[in-house]
Symmetry: C2
């Protein structure tokens, strides 16, 4: 508990996050913007306004452990969101579009500096636990779509297209600094996914 956690009556969320959460949040945003190797520990510390000791207290494994925690955080976040949407019995295409629209907001907020999770694969140290964490996250998302689509062979195909169009679309959006291309590719993919 730090001073920033005290719930003051007039300023409810001055910095509502604890130290650990601040670190994860800063790390996630920076890693998705510049890749694992592109972010220095000092960058994360600057962004979260925390000293080095705090980081190595909460994450003795250093940079990589922090990165894994960040990936785990976003993985859970999206997974829970997917579960919620699918439980409303929405069609897969609709869920995909829903997700894409949230990505649009996220991209705009960050001024189109963010990259899809899979893009980080390129920037992660080869064959590391971090790479594994990214792969696990993707597999969970893929499985959500697949089972929601019926678990058939065709469902597998469609789930692949859903994720590929989303991740590829985010990349395109970042490139063009506009959400337009993301919406276009996801919409078309959703059409195909809802077919038959």
């Amino acid at each position: 508990m730090t001073i920033s956690d005290i719930e003051t009556p007039l300023a409810p969320p001055p910095t509502p996050m604890g130290t650990k959460e601040r670190l994860v949040a800063a790390a996630l945003s920076l890693f998705q913007a510049k890749g694992y190797h592109g972010v220095a520990i000092s960058d994360i510390l600057d962004a979260s306004e925390l000293p080095k000791g705090s980081l190595y207290h909460h994450f003795p494994g250093g940079k990589e452990e922090l990165a894994i925690a960040a990936v785990g955080f976003i993985a859970d976040e999206v997974d829970a969101r997917l579960a919620a949407e699918f439980s409303k019995n929405k069609r897969a295409g609709a869920v995909l579009l829903e997700l894409a629209h949230e990505c649009v907001i996220w991209l705009q907020r960050s001024d189109y500096t963010q990259t899809p999770l899979l893009g980080l694969l390129a920037a992660s140290p080869g064959e590391s636990a971090l790479t594994q964490a990214i792969c696990d996250a993707q597999k969970r998302w893929l499985a959500r779509f697949e089972s929601a689509l019926g678990g058939t062979e065709a469902a597998h195909d469609k789930a692949c297209l859903a994720l590929a169009s989303l991740e590829g679309g985010i990349s395109l959006a970042r490139m063009s600094r506009s959400s337009d291309l993301l919406i276009r590719s996801v919409t078309l993919a959703a059409l195909r996914i809802n077919q038959r």
Copy 2:
């Protein structure tokens, strides 16, 4: 002209590339595997078995200039390939599948360590000339698909889906260390693209 450029009768390709080409080839492969910041100059030098002096002679701009050259190289390569396929009057979906199959070979050869060009965006220094080079490459490829599809609004949508499914599919393939997911997403996308 170096010794490796001389066409000897009995050993045609002992080292068929000149110094500059060797550097670009090594750099491209490494950058696509580990991202801009993930590759050290010394890595490129080791891979190409060249000393530092050579690099800074051919690329006075250093690491970034080399990276830009590498991006330009692959951009031209793919662009020319697209132009050739489209000139055979193939349907866009067929060209996309053709391209995907070449990517499969390339991925297998590299043991699934390579990443699509756009994935490198995440790992490039923000707002640099390198970022611009990557964006330019993508826009050229996008334009090829778009004009081949008729240049209409619908063509634009389909071109986006083509590129997104390809880049996203490559990421999925790398993640799963299998070309299966790439083929699935691209095939489905091609079906949609050939519609109407």
